[in-house]
């Protein structure tokens, strides 16, 4: 077990190093001078441009720039945004709680609806219910969140005036529409997964053995079939957390909410190096952390994994 743990953590670390090198290089490979990108169409003299390059350390060789960056990160200094001059670490601390809240609520919604609808459709396989809900879930997977979000705003905020469209990020009421917008795709996808996973278990012979032993039908369904089919679903849900975090970028923009995804996107548009590096590294850490935890739980639950 400990050897597995060590191996797993080593992999995670190398992923993080890879991510940091990649984001660093990517910004340097994009065409155009970063100083120009920063200034937009401002009128500045070449002397000032040179001064800025000096200030930002852009004249150093790229490996030196990378090394300086990593050194600062280990000292807990993610630098300051080039555009706003705000501390990158403070910005992340300020923006992340909103993304986390949104992701957790969306995850609750998507797992509840996903498992519920998936179970109903599987148990009522090939009935009208199954067909109608299948159309609903396939639509749910297909509808783009930016469109769905606007529909929700139009209906619940503009027409009915029940829910705020653009509540401030700390207003819990304002969480409802964004969370549903974010959750619909994942909920639908999960419903499909649950349905097929249960149907797969239906074909297995252990349940015939159970029935032959005289076990009640409801016990066969809920204790044996549902339980066994939930194994892949648990993994799916933990992965969903990561997908939802990625999806929050779009939802945060539509509902004008605070969030780490929007912070990263704006930073990329502005070529705000320190902010891009800081946010991407932060998101990568979260991603790797969740994947590692999932794998470790899996290893505890299923001995086959750690023996491989």
């Amino acid at each position: 077990m400990w050897r597995y743990l060590g191996r797993r953590l080593l992999t995670s670390l190398s992923v993080l190093i890879g991510v940091s090198i990649f984001t660093f290089l990517m910004l340097h490979l994009v065409p155009g001078d970063p100083v120009h990108a920063l200034l937009g169409r401002q009128a500045v003299t070449p002397e000032r441009l040179e001064e800025l390059r000096q200030e930002l350390g852009l004249n150093d060789p790229i490996p030196v720039q990378y090394f300086n960056y990593i050194k600062d990160v280990f000292q807990g200094d993610l630098g300051r945004s080039l555009k706003t001059n705000r501390s990158v670490l403070d910005s992340i601390k300020e923006q992340f709680p909103s993304t986390f809240q949104l992701t957790i609520v969306a995850l609750l919604i998507s797992s509840t609806f996903g498992i519920f609808i998936g179970t109903i459709t599987a148990f009522s396989h090939n009935s009208w219910w199954d067909k109608i809900l299948s159309i609903v879930t396939i639509s749910g997977i297909s509808i783009p969140p930016f469109f769905f979000g606007l529909l929700l705003i139009l209906f619940f905020s503009v027409k009915l005036n029940w829910l705020p469209a653009v509540a401030k990020s700390n207003d819990p009421q304002g969480l409802i529409l964004p969370a549903f917008t974010l959750a619909i795709g994942e909920a639908s996808w999960l419903a499909r997964l649950v349905r097929s996973s249960i149907l797969e278990e239906f074909d297995k012979s252990y349940q015939w053995t159970a029935r032959a032993k005289g076990v009640r039908e409801s016990t066969v369904l809920f204790y044996h079939v549902l339980r066994n089919s939930l194994i892949p679903i648990v993994t799916a849900i933990s992965l969903q957390f990561v997908y939802l975090m990625a999806g929050s970028v779009v939802v945060e923009s539509i509902f004008a909410r605070q969030g780490i995804g929007r912070l990263a996107v704006t930073a990329i548009q502005n070529r705000d190096f320190p902010l891009v590096q800081g946010t991407v590294a932060f998101i990568a850490v979260i991603y790797v952390l969740i994947n590692t935890i999932t794998d470790l739980i899996y290893a505890v639950v299923d001995p086959r994994v750690r023996l491989k």
Partner: protein, 530 residues
């Protein structure tokens, strides 16, 4: 029995759920929410760059001198002022009854510290240093007298003073917050910063001590609103939704389509303003073929119908432009604007005169086997609405147009390498002095490298360099009128549209009027009782 328990549980859960989904709380009568499109980067006057900073800084800070909508100057923090004969030294006599939001007193020292910072700029893109290019120092004579010195005559300084970039900050607050001052600005203005939640909102509250409003305002004493929330809503669709759901009572930059439809609705007020400064125009490269030929350049201008572009792309809310600067700019030259108007026949005649004829019937004119080709690098952020339409007008006239979509940095590189035939430019500014940034030939290779026409004219350069130092107003105006004429006669600018400020507001918003750059004076705004 067991089932009924479940039912009770479900019902109570539903009750809780719907309890939280109550109707959004009605805003307090004297608090206003404004939906704005872009979040400011810094509220430090010495760090601000553009529209969002300007709008907010003006509420929190006061200038030494204020401008009314007609550009007349009025005393603000300075009670009076004198200029030396050369126009390079300005003395100001300051009020001594003014306090900053942090309780410290406003003195000459604050002016010095604010101007010294403005000359350097506190963010990389700050607008202030550009204004203060020839600043020497501010001399504090005593608490209520300062002298500002420049190395050359500085004709625009008094007007510049009314702009947000030169408003006065509290030295104590600058000292206290250091590098973070842009997030904790402290001025003497009618509103005080209460909180700033990044990517979300900024809230300002009324300054109860405010008693030094300039004399052209319609009232004195503190502002009429108790609180203003600026909500950052980058998506146009969301901005409109926020207005329709009543979550914002004023919205900046609504979608033009929706705004134009709302004009008929009595519960909505639409406010528009034509911004001064350079219009959104295409700078035409005189060094790259085929636009090195003046006939081709003139044909480009005759081929484009700006009126239709304005209607189709902007529903008329960004008016058509016919000159390199907009009609609301001081020193606008009506004659230069009359030189060209949409005339496809004239465009065709000019092109034929230069030998560009469509001999193979593919709709594109050729000469010596070369197509009449236009390289058009476009920045979708500014040109999305009209770039295809512009290209189609040029194609109709027989041009072959290649649009390359780029970002700011890409455009600058493309333009500096002289790979373009046309390239979009525009600059909102109070004064035509802004023309020198992109029409002084010094800026082709050196300077800011933004003179994308690559046009060299000794007379134009001379005008653009001497006018900012010409103190006599009439003489200065004549110079800029000549500059506009040179630019348009040489056909190096293809005007497209003027920039316009567009706001929609609820019917009960009163006291809304624009300052000289198209921002409402929120100090005068109030909410009428219904």
């Amino acid at each position: 029995m067991k089932n009924r328990k479940h039912l009770v549980l479900i019902l109570s859960l539903l009750a809780v759920l719907f309890g939280t989904i109550a109707v959004p709380a009605q805003s307090e009568t004297n608090a206003l929410t404004i939906g704005i499109s872009v979040e400011p980067i810094s509220l430090d006057p010495a760090g601000g760059l553009y529209i969002p900073e300007q709008f907010l800084i003006q509420q929190i800070f006061d200038p030494l001198i204020a401008a009314d909508p007609a550009l007349n100057l009025h005393p603000a923090l300075a009670k009076s002022w004198e200029v030396n004969e050369m126009g390079s030294e300005f003395s100001f006599h300051l009020r001594d009854d003014v306090k900053f939001h942090d309780g410290t007193k406003f003195t000459g020292e604050a002016v010095k510290i604010s101007f010294d910072r403005a000359a350097k700029g506190s963010t990389v893109a700050a607008a202030a240093p550009t204004i203060f290019y020839d600043y020497i120092e501010t001399q504090v004579v005593d608490d209520t007298t300062v002298i500002v010195k420049f190395s050359s005559p500085h004709a625009t300084f008094l007007q510049d003073l009314t702009r947000p970039w030169l408003m006065i900050s509290s030295p104590a607050a600058i000292e206290k917050h250091g590098e973070d001052y842009g997030q904790y600005p402290v001025g003497t203005g009618p509103f005080i910063l209460k909180e700033w939640a990044a990517q979300d909102h900024i809230t300002l509250t009324k300054n109860p001590d405010y008693n030094w409003a300039s004399d052209f305002y319609v009232h004195t004493g503190p502002a009429l609103l108790d609180e203003i929330t600026f909500r950052f809503l980058p998506e146009q669709a969301t901005r409109i939704a926020a207005f329709q759901s009543g979550e914002a009572s004023i919205v900046q930059d609504p979608s033009y389509l929706e705004a134009s439809q709302m004009t008929a609705d009595p519960s909505v007020q639409l406010f528009t303003f034509v911004n001064p400064g350079m219009t959104s125009h295409q700078m035409i490269n005189v060094e790259k073929a085929p636009t090195d030929d003046i006939n081709v350049r003139k044909a480009l201008i005759y081929a484009v119908d700006q009126e239709t572009i304005s209607q189709v792309a902007f529903y008329g809310l960004q008016p058509a432009a016919h000159n390199v600067i907009s009609p609301s700019t001081w020193g606008y030259n009506e004659e230069a604007a009359k030189l060209y108007s949409y005339n496809p026949e004239k465009a065709a005649a000019l092109l034929e005169e230069s030998g560009w004829i469509d001999s193979n019937g593919d709709g594109i004119r050729e000469k010596d086997g070369v197509n009449l080709h236009i390289e058009y690098p476009a920045l979708p952020a500014y040109e999305e609405a009209f770039m295809e339409l512009l290209a189609s007008y040029l194609q109709k006239a027989g041009f072959e147009v290649n649009i390359t979509k780029l970002d700011d940095a890409g455009i600058s590189e493309f333009g500096f390498a002289s790979k373009h035939n046309i390239l979009n430019m525009g600059w909102v500014s109070r004064d035509p002095a802004v023309l020198s940034y992109v029409y002084d030939s010094e800026n082709i290779e050196g300077g800011n490298q933004s003179s994308y026409t690559r046009f060299r004219s000794d007379r134009l350069d001379e005008i653009l360099r001497t006018a900012p130092q010409t103190i006599d107003e009439e003489a200065r105006k004549a110079l800029y009128q000549e500059a506009q004429m040179i630019i348009m006669e040489n056909a190096i600018a293809l005007p497209i549209h003027c920039y316009g400020s567009v706001y929609i507001a609820d019917a009960n918003i009163t006291g809304f009027r624009f300052d000289p750059e198209g921002f409402p004076y929120l100090y005068e705004v109030s909410i009428a009782a219904e």
